[in-house]
Every structure is written in C-alpha cells, then in structure tokens.
Amino acid sequence: MAVALLAAASLAFEVLLMRLFSILQWHHFAYMIISLALLGYGTSGTLMAFFAGGLLRRFERAWTLLAMGFGLSMPLVFLLAEQLPFNPLELLWDPWQWLWLATVYLLLMVPFLLVALLIGISFARYGNRIGAIYGADLLGAGVGALAVVALLYWLFPRQLLPLLAVVALGGASLGAWAMHRPRLALGAGVVALLFLGIVQQGVPLSPNPFKPLQQQLQVMGTRVLGEYSSPLAKLTMVESEQVPLRYILGLSLNTPQSPPEQLGLFADGDAMMAITRFEGDPKSLTFLAWTPEAAAWELLPGKPRVLVLGAGTGMPVLRALHLGAGEIHAVEVNGQVVELMRGPYAAYSGDLYQSPEVRVVTAEARRYARTSDTVFDLVELPLLDAFNAASAGLYAVSESYVYTVEALREYLRRLAPGGLLSVTRWVRLPPRERIKLFAMAVEALQQEGVAEPGRHLLWIRGWNTATLLVRLTPFSSVEVERVARFARSRSFDLAWAPGLSQSQVNRYNRLPQPWFYTAASSILGKERDAFFRDYRFHVEPATDDRPYFYRFFRWNLLPEMVRMRMQGSTFLQETGYLVLVITLLQALLLAGLLLLVPLRLQRRFRQGEPLPGWRQHGYFFFVGLGFMFIEVIAIQLFIRYLSHPVYAVAVVLSAFLVFAGLGAWVSLKVKKRNRRRVAGLAVIVAGLLVVSYPALLHQLIATTHGWPDALRILASLLFIAPLAFAMGFPFTLGLSEVSDRGRLHIPWAWAVNGFASVLGTTLATLAAIHLGLQLVLWLAAAFYLLAWSCWPAVSPKRARGG
C-alpha cells in the first residue's frame, strides 16, 4: 500500500509538472519532463550500485527517510526551480539561461531519483516478495497518472502540489508503521498533516512575467473575475475597467466603428479569448463585418447553416449571428468554456450561447466534423490555436490533427452543395504557415477529385490575419468580383483568386514581394515539388502520418540563424524544433554523466569484478529505445483519439505502466531455459502489434467515435493492454538472465536502459517529424528485433569473468 501511494504520487507529479510548466512558462517542456523523470529513475540505478549496501544495512530508516524526502522534495524542488531567473524568451540573448535550464532539469529530477531509489532498495530487501512490490508500484503509478487528471477538475495545480506531498508522506508513514517504526511513522504523519493544512491555499506560483495574462494584470484597473481548473487548461477570466480589452484580430484599418469592450479569458495565462459585451444593439457589432473572415458571407445563401470548429468564447458565433446565419453549430473542445458562457457570463455576452439559432457542442473539432450528420453552407475554422497552442500544444513541435490534409477533406465533406470551408490563420512573416495551409488545401481538393484546384480557392489577406476560402465547386468570376469588392473596401488584399494576375495583388498591405501569390502559383503549377524542395521553410502539407503543421524548420536555416542571432529578428524564430534538439543533447549529456560515467569509474574501485559485455549493453539499449519509441508515438497517436494531449499522456503512461508491469511480473515466472525463447516470442508479438497499430487505431476510431470520454479512455486502456503486456517481458527477462553474473551487471543494465529511454523520448519525436509515425513504429519493432539478436547469452569467455 505504501509503495503504491508513493508510486502514484510520483507519476501524478510527472503529469502535474507538465501542467505547471504550461501555466508558468510555455508548453515547450513536456518532453523535458518525461526525460528528466526517466533520468531520475535511471540515476537511482547508478546510486544503488554505489550505496545499496549502506542503505540496506539501515533499511527501515533509509526507506522512511527516502519516502519523506520524496514527499518533501516535490514542492521544495519546484519552489526552488521557480526562484531561478529562468526565462526561455531570453535563451537567444543570455548564455546564463542555458545553465538555468539545466539546473531546473537537475532540480526537478530529484524527487524521481528518490522514489526510484526507495523502490530499488525495496526490491533488494524483499527479494521474495518482488512480485507484490512490483505490482503495487506499477498499479499505483498507473492510477496516479489518471487520478491527477481527474483531480484537476476540482483542484488547481498549485493545490495539487502539496496534496501529492501529503500522499507521499502518508505512504512514508504507513510504510514506517508496517516496519514497526512508530516514531518515524508519527513524524511522517505529522508532516503530512502540516502539508494538508496548506492544500486549500496552495503553494505560490510565479508565472513568467512575459506571459499575456501577467502582462494584462499589470494594466491599471485590471482584476481577475474568476479562476477555473481542468486538465485541459487553467482558465482565468479578467476584466479591465479603466483600459477596456478590445481583442479583434485582423480588424480592417477602415473600420468605421470602435468595437465594444470585452472580458478576457486566458487559458494557462497565455492566448486570450475575448467575450464581447452585447446588449442587443446590432449596430454595436458592425465591426464584425470588417475582418477577413467576413468575406465568406459575400458568397453565402440567405440564412445559411454554419459550423464553427473552435467556438471559444463565441466571437465567430457572434459574427455568424450578426451576419444572418439561420443555424449555428458551435463546437468547443473545452466544456468549461462553454459552461462559463452559459452560466456566469451569459448576460454579458447577450445570452449568445443560449440563442435559439445556436447549438453549442462540447467536442473536439475534427471528431464533430466526422461524426455530425448535418451538412453546412459554411464550415469555419477560426484562429483555433489562439487557445489550442497554449492548452493542447504540449510539445515543442506540436502535433495537430485539426490541420492535416485528411482533416481538411473531412471538413469539405461536411459541406452542402456550394458550401464553403473558411480557414483563418495568422500572417507570419516571412510567410510559412499560410503557404503550408494553402498547399494542404490544394492537396485535399485534388484528393477529393478536383482537377483544377486553383479555381476552388480564394485567399484574403489583412495585415495580421488571412482567410482561405475553399469550395468543392469552382468560384465564378462574378463571385470573385464580389469578394474583391469586399476586400477593396476594407483594404484587404486578395492573395489568390481564379483569374487574379500579379499586378492585382499586394496593394493595400504591401509586402516587399507578392510572396503569397507567387507561392500559390508555384504550388498550383508544375513546379510544386521543386518549390517544396527549395522553399526556405518546410511547407509541405501536414498529414495524419506527419501531423506537424507547426514545423517549418529546415536545417539549411541554421547558418542564417547563427549569423543573425543578435539582431532579434524572429525571421528565424523556428526555435521549437531546435529546443527539441537541444533538450535531446542536454539529456544525453546529463544522462551520460549521471548514468554511464560513474559506473565506468566504479570499475577502478572494484578490480576484478566481472563486467557485462557489449551484447548485454546492446540488449538493454535497444529494449529501452524500442519501448520509449512506442510509448511516445502511442501518445501522439492517441491525441487523435482522445482529443487532448493531457488525456493521451495520462492514459498512455498509465496503460503502459500497468500492463507492461503485469507482463514483467508474469515474466518472472518463466523458467531459466525458456527465457530466450519467451523474449523472442514477446518481441515478435510486440513487433507485429506495433506495426499494425495505426491501422488498428483507425478501426478503433471508426467504431467508437460516438462514445463518451470515459468509455473511450477505457477502450484505450484495453487497446494498449496486449501490446504493453508483451513489451513488459524483454526487460525483466534480460535482467533475470544477467542477475547472477556479477554485482555490476544489474546496475549497468539499469543505466544503459535508462540512457536509452532518455534518448528515446526526444529522438522518437524527431524521427516522427522526418519519417512519419508509421515508419517510426517500424523502427521501434526493428529495435526490439535488434535487442533480441543481442540476447545476453553467456559465452564461455564471459563466463570465466572477462
């Protein structure tokens, strides 16, 4: 029970750290957290090699102190890390920031190291009850990952942090009691109670002062109206009385009227969604017709039926209502946002989400588009990631299944005859994401059987946003003229339209060159492949197999980035990818230093001790790499099914822990002579399952798409079970095989495996970006086969102790 509680706290801490980093900094650090947890586990193996003897001699005391240390260290290292002047925005300018980043990494590793050390010595002490301890550890960890997600609905992350300390200290107390150490048990219990006292208030958090919410709070007269927690995001509703908020992206400079005041809803203190005050006077909403998104309304029939994918706090819904929609399906992934709009802020928004024309649905955009049986005259994707990049973009190079070629095709199929798909995105310069989106629309149209996609696209560009209109039937010249007139009156440019010539573009918001038009012409022409190859940024269409819409980095940019780093230009801002690479290098360096070097050094002190050979290293290295490749790619695949990264991370981590643990436990019963054969069988089963995973998952999505969240989470757990079960065998079978060969064999196996896991976390994502998810799964299967081919058999030479 004690072990289960401690393991639960440790996994819950891992998931909670991801949320905390998203709130305090930005979401770029999720992989760093997975890798630092793994490094902590791995380092415990190295420490065991050095100190196991001493720790085991005073087992009860060491166990309790480690458990208490773990409980206390969770809030402590977090608060310490917060004190460091780490600001990721200054990484470009200030070399010290790299040191702070590494320090944060090492600090946050400590709790994982302590808990792993504790479990390690428990194994060593209770060799006869290893199965029970292992089972408690993995079951606890699995439950912990899921429980923290559920708890986030009731408690804020700042409150959960001391609560995890309570859980861990409770575990420490229980454990000490069971080991007949009442004084230690009492001590741990008292400290647990002290922490319980601060759960309500929570620990103080200091978000990065450059986050939009923090900046808004500096503005005179700004106050927080409410804070709301959920696993998806921490929402903060803000009112600014003296300097009213006015957040209307892309508003034309010619707009005749200033927009009304708004409330701001911040997700994780980042991107803001605005609630516009509406008191019934339609004239106050005239401004809504002065953004590029309104262009679609020039071409729609009377009383159109509209689908808004990513309704947020309702700006696109308000526009549709104001411009005359007959029926609006407003889809929003975050149910809490919907509740706020229907509850406390309903009156402020003029009961927008209760209007008879509006049907609000809490669902993920793409899933709704796929499963809805209604057809629409307009399917609109507003600037979704204003919200989603903050809450959903858990990764440096975020996966997005909303912006892929397959997704666009699904949206197009939701259209009534003559219906329009409207996608609005930022204008980022130099151009990249708009161009990628255009290329994806062309691809989607072609896959839908359109012969001349250029006649089916209209592109309206303002100074900071641009809207792409896509239709399965071609646009006529009369329609093009109608939209052109709309654009002229608002000083928007047409970047692409059927029949548009270069002399007609780039007139109002002048760029140095008509980049968008020339890019569109190239993508529609014969030179498309050459264009993709030679364009400075990566603008090839994102697909479900490579769902990296936000990846634009290409290595040929690097020399320019280095040359211009001190000019402050975000020309070369594609740092997400580089952060990933740097995280990888940092993790490798630290993992090497903490895992491999100490063991290498230890040899000097233990002359004559037999050392494992390259086959053993190869075996545990490839098992570690294969495992992490599968786990990381499974997270990415399940984001599509479970609609949100936090769910996917929690469910996948939890399923792999529980079922791989079960596999490992069963594997302990395998007889010595059968180990190699069983490992081979496990490798083959895992390999076969892994390579067919995307296809199987596709089938799962198709069969269960209508199920509620809880049932889909259960289905995911069961779906992962057989694969994870098979993957649980190779590591423990290998460990059993080498355990009696020398004192250093197990620590080395643990360290090499830990090193590979740390490497695998980031490497898997990098590989997926370049090769696609399917190919990376093949790679993972290949790693398992390679591992098996390295099975650490005892050669006669090794057996003699060489």
């Binding site: 006015r246 209307i248 400079l253 005749p256």
Partner: protein
C-alpha cells in the same frame, strides 16, 4: 554546487566604470544592422540625428540596476512589470521610419522605460507618450525629468483613444502590437504622417508595420522585414 552558483550570480559586482555615452561598438552594430536591411525599408544607414541621440541618451539609466551592465549591448532587456526596453537597433530604425523634422508632434503609445521617448525628443520631436502600467509611468516620468527631458508629455491611461487634444500627429509609435490598429489612432494621424508598429514578441521582432496616410487621407500599410528574405534556395 547549485547554491554556489546562486551565490556567485547574486554577488557579481555592478561595474562602477560604466560609460555614460554609448560605446562605439554599439553604434557600429546599429550601422551594421542597417547594412543588412532589405532595400524596401529605405535606409542603408541610420540618420546622423538618430546616431547622435543613441550616443547621448544614457540607456543604462533606463534599466533596473541589475541590468545596467548589459545596457550598452545591442539587446532588449527586461525592465520589470513584464515589459522590456527595445533593442537599440530597433529603436533607431523605428525613429528613422517616422522621418521626423524638428518640431514634429509624435505620439507614443507605451512609454515603458521612457527610452524611446527620450530618443524621439533628442531628434527634435515634441513627444506625447501614454503608458497603461501606473508604476512604469511614474518611474518614466521621474527619470525623464531628471535627465532633462521634462518637455516630454506623459499620461497614464488607455492608449487606444490616442491623445485627441494634441492631435493630429506627424508620427505615431505603438510600442507593442495589439490585435488591431485602434481606429482613433488612424484618425489622429496627419495626412502625410506615419505610424510604426513592431510586430513580434517582447524579445524579438517579426516585422515592422508602417501605416502611411497620404495627402488625401488614404491609409495604406507596409510590412517591413528587418532582414532580407529570399524565399527560394536552389535552382530557382
């Protein structure tokens, strides 16, 4: 080790021999930056007036004590309250883009530390500056007065509505991009006037947006990249 590092960092002494005029290296870096600008920006070198202003305005006195050692470097710096002081090369270019004649009225939305206002005053503008963070406004007011820029008009409040009593303006600088260009600011721009808005993050610049109002009152915008961008590599 960690504690040692923390102590080391906090105990680094502030240099007392800080120069009070811009070192030549900074001026050279600003000149070099202009040398890399694309032709459509319209400047191959900074104007002499801007260079003189950069030399004269003591940037270290516009940043917190802890940042002073870095204040003569060509980099943005945090000044507290989640705000930054812009990079000198960007300050120079924004000032040049306004094409200020002595006596021109310039509105600045977002005073921050007051550095940009001081530079504008040095090149001869009559500066009206608005800040929404009260504490920043207070400290900028004191600082500017102490340094002899008492003629800069400062106001604490909402920059969205501009400064109607002092309008129209020959130039407007909005120091941080909003979601849209406030219509009142467009109205308060004189025919022939220019408005500059940097678009990007607090520590980086994506592009400069230049809003121009011609003699007839027609408004157009230009998006100026601070670097030359050649979209295609290879055989194109």
């Amino acid at each position: 080790m960690l504690l040692g590092l923390l102590l080391l960092c906090s105990s680094l002494p502030a240099r007392s021999d800080r120069p009070q005029v811009a070192p030549e290296r900074l001026i050279e870096e600003v000149r070099a930056f202009y040398g890399t600008l694309p032709p459509d920006v319209g400047f191959e070198a900074p104007s002499e007036a801007v260079i003189t202003a950069l030399r004269k305005v003591p940037r270290p006195l516009f940043v917190p004590e802890s940042q002073r050692d870095k204040a003569w470097e060509n980099r943005p710096l945090p000044i507290g309250h989640g705000q930054t002081i812009s990079q000198p090369n960007v300050v120079a270019l924004m000032t040049d883009l306004l094409q200020i004649e002595p006596g021109d009225r310039v509105l600045e939305v977002g005073t921050g530390s007051g550095y940009q206002a001081a530079i504008l005053a040095e090149v001869g503008a009559e500066v009206y500056s608005i800040e929404i963070v009260e504490e920043l406004a207070r400290s900028a007011r004191e600082r500017l007065r102490e340094l002899g820029y008492g003629k800069v008009h400062l106001r604490t409040g909402d920059g969205y509505h501009g400064w109607p009593e002092a309008a129209p303006f020959d130039g407007i600088i909005v120091t941080a991009a909003a979601s849209h260009v406030p219509p009142p600011l467009v109205r308060q721009l004189k025919p022939g006037g220019r408005m500059v808005i940097p678009v990007g993050g607090r520590f980086t610049l994506q592009y400069l947006m230049l809003v121009e109002k011609d003699a007839q009152g027609t408004v157009s915008t230009r998006q100026l990249l601070p670097v030359i961008f050649v979209p295609l590599t290879g055989s194109h």
